[in-house]
Symmetry: C2
Subunit: 305 residues, 2 copies
């Protein structure tokens, strides 16, 4: 682990932090989606297959880590954090469909429509998106219900036509044309950036942050979102498909615009590093309670899958 | 129009009521989804094509009519009512997909994936489902935000794995086996019944109904939901595809269980009439402010499309 530039930084075992928080999130997800809760076993099985089948759990952990940066214990924010993971998982299921990116492998296992079938995968995605809002609407002790309504709107905006879904549409359309760097940034700001930023803003608002703290955590989220996407593109070009759990080199095959292709591999790495430095400097006034966020920013850059 | 059994019933021009309320809903939907609000014009166009392309607007009108039955003017409940229509429209788009019911015609026009393409239709559905929750989370003057959170949960439950999506999954699976009448009722209680019932319960709660009023409007919703589905099955067998705006006889071709097939046409009609009578008797203690609901119950039965 490289030390960050921030003087307040304390030693922290990021692996331990991540695995602890991942376990918190996964236990809450499994509880919320018990075996055979749906009228159809098959739908339930498909939802569980995709939702509980691994993953970094980056978005829910960001929600929790932002509330911790503001001095809270994370447990009562788990339903909202889980909502973010449900949205992320649904988006993967739908993006993998034959009519979309047509992927056969995800997190090292067959994609949902390969394991089940297309209709089941479409419905499992729909049900997870719907479940997300059921979770997000759960009242939280100490959080004004009016704030919760605002966060549901924020979540919907980040996930919907002006955010993730809009970005996926742009991404699909971009396969047929050569994007400029600015256009590529727009695609990714919508497709992956919006939801990562929402995770941080939601954590800031759930934790009762001041307007300045909210803005700083929003900036942090925007910067790591971009760094995350650049790294994703680099890993697709250079990564190991066994580690990634999905096919690599796919962007190359499709002649799709990526950061390494538009900037060159070296400059793409530099840009990702620059964004991570920006993210960490956004956290400057925060105490060591924000150390997990600082380490997470580095992790985005150094991850191998 | 046949007079209902309820003595409190006043003369009401249902056509005029419906067209007025339909215009209210459609204007609100069009405002909420202005041309090119999404980063992708194509996504925006597909969402508008399906959402603003006609339809009975039954679910949003039920929300509004239930608030009116409790003495309210309907306008401030429009965002929530529109949320219900967004969910209904998304479900039609996804149900029409080739992997699902594979329909080419809807409301007299090509289905979304025929007019655009499959990927666009999947994303337009996803974006409409997401928009629904953004609308449902809009604070409403005079409604406790905690009540709004509860209604979002109710909406998600009616739309999700335990409701509409679960019902669609059961419906897909049922094509391969012969359902009993009880199983068919379960499929429809989930697939169409849940959301119609939620519309009525939401109207009752938005309008500040007493527990008894809420229960009565819930019973009303359950009964007309069932009547609506039986009539749908009957129309599929006997209806005019030009009036319906979709192909008829499809259930027959697929040897799928329907009410007319399991009960016989005559008994199916009687069951629908029985449900409508039940719905109207649920409204017994309500004043003439509930007349639109009484007439709507009859309309469900006598509609030709």
């Amino acid at each position: 682990m490289r030390p960050s530039a921030t003087p307040a930084m304390e030693p922290l075992d990021l692996e331990q932090y991540l695995s602890h928080h991942r376990a918190l999130v996964e236990e809450a997800l499994a509880q919320r989606l018990p075996w055979q809760a749906a009228p159809s076993e098959r739908l339930n099985a498909a939802m569980r297959y995709s939702l509980l089948g691994g993953g970094k759990r980056l978005r829910p952990i960001l929600v929790l880590a932002c509330t911790e940066a503001l001095g809270h214990r994370p447990e009562r924010f788990l339903p909202f954090a889980c909502a973010m993971e449900c949205i992320h998982t649904y988006s993967l299921i739908h993006d993998d469909l034959p009519a979309m990116d047509d992927d056969a492998l995800r997190r090292g296992r067959p994609t949902c429509h390969k394991q089940f079938d297309e209709a089941t995968a479409i419905l499992a995605g729909d049900a997870l998106l719907t479940l997300a809002f059921e979770l997000a609407a759960q009242p939280i002790a100490g959080v004004d219900p009016l704030e919760s309504l605002g966060l549901i709107q924020l979540l919907a905006q980040g996930a919907g036509m002006g955010g993730m879904v809009g970005g996926q549409m742009l991404d699909m359309l971009s396969e047929k044309k050569q994007l400029s760097l600015e256009e590529l940034k727009t695609v990714h700001a919508c497709k992956t950036g919006a939801l990562i930023r929402v995770a941080c803003v939601a954590g800031a608002r759930l934790g009762g942050g001041t307007p300045e703290q909210r803005e700083r955590l929003a900036n942090y989220g925007a910067a790591i979102g971009l760094a995350f996407q650049i790294t994703d593109d680099i890993l697709d070009e250079t990564g190991d498909s066994r580690l990634l759990g999905k096919a690599t080199g796919q962007d190359q095959q499709s002649a799709k615009a990526t950061y390494p292709r538009l900037l060159g591999l070296h400059n793409a790495r530099q840009e990702a590093e620059h964004q991570v430095a920006q993210a960490i400097s956004s956290l400057e006034p925060f105490t060591s309670q924000a150390d997990p966020l600082r380490h997470l920013a580095r992790f985005v850059l150094t991850r191998t899958h």
